[in-house]
């Protein structure tokens, strides 16, 4: 199995830095997802790995071998494109078998391998059709077949599901995951859909403006975002952020509008007195009918019905928060409500740098005790 290593990889387009020196290791057999907003350089990075884009400075190593100057075909990567890029004039079987034809594989062997791949992707009945006669999902599978047939060392997917409807997307997601479990091939998958990232990834690389913000397993990235960018980007909805002044001596966080919340200062022994940004997820905020010393008052701006529950958009001292509310909980927009936080899940960020204050891991018993 194949590992990939990027060493201070930079990409410049006519003087504009698009990637600012990335370091990243993809371990053999891993399913790595590159996640980030549009234009952050995900495709560029993937295309550099594939060899379709030249490296400005830095190194790309595949299996420990520097491949900067090696042609795409010799790198052993197979790529699935966002719009599939099937050859329109070739039948499905010609599309799938083209790489073998170019490589000079004899016809009999080629046919056998095409049948095997088509069988595993349920494409056997469509082998003679042209791509224009296929549905989006079928085209997607042909594109995957074309990548699979070469038995590549690395699979590269560039937003392969973004042209499919919601239902098909879920189905193809499972299919891709299944394929990875079966073949165990090292995979790099680009998406800007974080649900896709969460469900598929062994590890997620969150990118922003040509930099890597955080690398971690889906739960690490979700529970311990290393920066406010990751906090807001990951999760649906993202983490709510509220500005406050921390007063560790008194163990309180003073909000902009004068309200105070008690917090577990012991978790952040090194926290200085000063500005912080609180990070809270929707499910960690409770709306209660009974104001107390542990709650603060917020205004309900808007209520969104999600299905299993509702999202209440709150305004707390001028900052926006989203709280998850059960469907049967009576609530009106415009109302002032009391909200309490799951203090064990609270994250603190440095507003100047956007980085997370690390703090200490709190034992479970204490976490439960600290919960309001």
């Amino acid at each position: 199995m194949t590992g990939i290593e990027l060493r201070s990889l930079r990409k410049t387009y006519s003087g504009n830095d698009v990637l600012h020196g990335l370091d990243l290791t993809v371990t053999p057999g891993e399913f790595l997802v590159l996640l980030g907003p549009s234009g952050c350089g995900k495709s560029t990075l993937m295309r550099m790995i594939a060899g379709l884009e030249a490296v400005t400075t830095g190194d790309i190593l595949i299996d420990g071998r520097r491949v900067n100057d090696i042609e795409p075909r010799a790198r052993g990567c197979a790529m699935v494109f966002q719009n599939y890029a099937l050859y329109p004039h070739m039948s499905v079987s010609q599309n799938i078998g083209y790489a073998l034809k170019v490589a000079g594989v004899p016809k009999a062997e080629r046919q056998a391998r095409i049948s095997a791949v088509a069988g595993s992707l349920a494409l056997t009945d469509f082998l003679d059709r042209k791509p224009s006669q296929l549905s989006g999902g079928q085209r997607q599978r042909v594109a995957m077949g074309r990548a699979m047939i070469r038995s590549p060392r690395v699979f590269l997917y560039d937003e392969p599901l973004s042209n499919l409807d919601a239902k098909l997307r879920v189905a193809m997601r499972l299919e891709i995951r299944r394929l990875h479990q079966k073949l165990g091939t090292t995979t790099v998958f680009v998406t800007h859909d974080q649900v896709e990232a969460m469900t598929l990834a062994d590890r997620i690389v969150v990118m922003n403006a040509g930099r890597i913000e955080q690398v971690g397993t889906p739960s690490e990235v979700y529970q311990h975002p290393q920066s406010t960018f990751v906090a807001e980007f990951i999760g649906a909805p993202g983490m709510g952020l509220v500005d406050a002044i921390a007063d560790p001596k008194r163990g309180v966080l003073c909000l902009g509008d004068g309200q105070e919340v008690r917090f577990d200062a012991a978790r952040w022994p090194d926290l200085p007195h000063g500005a912080v940004r609180l990070g809270l997820r929707a499910e960690e905020i409770g709306i209660t009918a009974h104001p107390s010393a542990h709650t603060v008052m917020a205004r309900v701006e808007l209520i969104e019905n999600i299905g299993p529950h509702r999202h209440a958009h709150l305004s707390l001292s001028g900052c926006n928060l989203i709280a998850q509310v059960p469907n049967d909980f009576a609530l009106q927009s415009g109302a002032q409500v009391a909200i309490g936080f799951d203090m064990a899940a609270l994250q603190l960020f440095d507003p100047a740098t956007g980085r997370r204050h690390a703090g200490q891991n709190v034992p479970l018993a204490e976490r439960i005790a600290a919960t309001v």
Binding site: L52, P72, Y87, R146
Partner: protein, 298 residues
């Protein structure tokens, strides 16, 4: 915007029919004139319905114009121009669209400028080059101080002379360039990932995709080459061997200088003969062309 008013529709229909008739009228006159004997065709007014001497006249014209020889010449030239043009256009457009090389801009503009200089405009310099192909190279070498004497190589009175100057123009290149630019980049990248080099990509993917394009260009070029008149007239003095069909028309056309009465029926029959191949090619390829468009995969 599509109009849905009946009156407007009717007007458009009438206009369409009128222009169609106006377009066909000359052809009808040619056909009618070619089908009467010498006396009938010279009556005033000429009859407007076809007569019964068409094949007779065709045979006379065929004989008189030496068409069994010159039709072959024209076919050779038209086919060679068409094939050469398609090959040159596809390859040069491929270079311009898919490769980054030094002087690419210069190459592009050099090709572009030939669009503005059709053969008729530069006919004198083109003739002098055709008369001595190596002369420009000799002149350039002499400029650098080297005094060389290259052998004389003339294209006058040869098939190459009839073909090459017509091949070397930019129209086809631009047609192909426009087409190649509509081919998604991902297709080229997918082919690269599949291990195919540039030539393989050109042959396996670009050429099959450009079939409709190729047929359209072939139609245009065949007719264009077949209809050439001035250039063949200029460079072919050995008319017994290298005359083309269009050149031959002037010999069949009535000559009033010696007071002979114009032989319109034979002349028009010769017209029909010369008209036939390009019309046939257009009809045949048009069908393919349309079929190519209908089954065009996106």
């Amino acid at each position: 915007m599509i109009e849905r008013t009946p009156v407007f529709d009717a007007i458009v229909q009438v206009l369409l029919v009128l222009s169609f008739v106006a377009l066909l009228l000359p052809f009808w006159v040619v056909l009618v004139a070619a089908s009467h004997d010498f006396h009938t065709v010279n009556q005033v007014p000429m009859p407007l319905l076809p007569g019964r001497h068409l094949f007779e006249n065709l045979a006379t014209a065929w004989e008189k114009g030496n068409f069994s020889r010159v039709m072959v010449n024209s076919l050779i030239v038209a086919i060679a121009v068409t094939a050469g043009k398609i090959a040159l256009a596809a390859i040069s457009a491929f270079a311009i669209v898919y490769f980054d090389f030094r002087l690419k801009k210069l190459a592009f503009w050099a090709i572009f400028i030939t669009l503005m200089l059709p053969l008729e405009v530069r006919i004198v310099p083109t003739y002098s080059v055709a008369a001595d192909v190596l002369a420009p190279f000799e002149a350039i070498l002499n400029l650098t101080g080297l005094s060389v004497d290259l052998p004389q190589w003339s294209l006058l009175n040869s098939y190459s002379g009839l073909v090459l100057p017509l091949v070397a123009t930019a129209t086809g290149t631009f047609l192909y360039r426009q087409f190649f630019m509509t081919v998604p980049d991902e297709l080229a990248e997918a082919a690269r990932m599949d291990g195919s080099g540039p030539l393989r990509f050109f042959w396996d993917i670009l050429l099959p995709l450009s079939r409709a394009n190729m047929i359209a260009l072939a139609t245009i070029m065949f007719v264009f080459a077949w209809n050439q008149y001035l250039w063949p007239l200029l460079i072919i003095t050995d008319q017994a061997n290298f005359a083309t069909a269009t050149m031959q028309l002037q010999k069949v056309v009535p000559n009033g200088v010696w007071g002979e009465p114009p032989v319109w029926n034979t002349a028009m029959a010769a017209n029909l003969i010369v008209l036939f191949p390009p019309v046939l090619v257009t009809l045949l390829l048009q069908r393919w062309f349309v079929r190519g468009l209908i089954s065009a995969e996106k």
